[in-house]
Symmetry: C2
Subunit: 144 residues, 2 copies
């Protein structure tokens, strides 16, 4: 299951993606419109900022805005920041690899072999889908 953290992150980025040409938006405003606990969202946006996705400005009139084109922010990158690995077994993870403590020898593990395929299929979609894509998918769903 996707964590709430990841879901909130995507929602925040989508809102900021629709806010591109306007002045920065405050955490409290995002939190209110999406009904996300403010302090929790604060942590999440900070992570995204430290990862380079967001620009932030302190003080009056400050807030957050996207630091790059929403077409270039892909779900896979967000999920790696908020949830960590994409793969369902640690031994199949590209960015968070570690040995499975339950399996004796990973090179001949049939489970790993299957879940590498699952990872590839998932990764293909998540690394092709951007915040801009989510926004345009929502548009298509509203006006079919």
């Amino acid at each position: 299951m996707l964590s709430k953290k990841t879901k909130y992150a995507i929602k925040a980025l989508v809102i900021l993606g629709k806010n591109m040409d306007q002045p920065p938006m405050q955490i409290s405003r995002i939190a209110e419109t999406e009904r996300i606990p403010k302090k929790f969202l604060e942590q999440i946006l900070l992570d995204l900022r430290n990862a380079g996705f967001l620009y932030s400005k302190k003080g009056a009139g400050g807030g957050y805005s996207l630091n790059r084109d929403p077409k270039e922010i892909f779900l896979v990158s967000i999920m790696r920041i908020t949830d960590g690995p994409i793969a369902m077994v640690p031994c199949a993870s590209l960015n968070f690899y570690h040995k499975c403590d339950e399996c004796h020898q990973e090179t001949t593990c049939g489970i790993r072999d299957v879940f590498v395929d699952v990872r590839d299929a998932t990764l293909k979609i998540l690394s092709e889908t951007s915040i801009a894509d989510i926004i345009s998918r929502e548009q298509s769903l509203i006006h079919p």
Copy 2:
């Protein structure tokens, strides 16, 4: 991440799949060979039995064996028993659907739209891969 429960379930079914023509195998033997906590494995095998995948026999000389062809036991069915939903968001689950409490209207949700695609890709692999496939993949990995 795949739970240990699911991983243990697959491992147990693989062992039993290799044991098809022999007398039933005891929990304790499976637990020892795969280093799975016995009492935990007991629960898991019981679930698989109640779902109709295993045959069990009590008393001396008893144990567990597969109740059907390993070619007909697919990962998707096992995972649904041990972990529940395949989809990463509840609103995209076929067998364990429920509303997302974070999203206002599911019909126009862009996140859901993407994760339905992810579910389909995952589901395709998991519903095509059987215990027999895992066994033969392991053979291929051992003798390339």
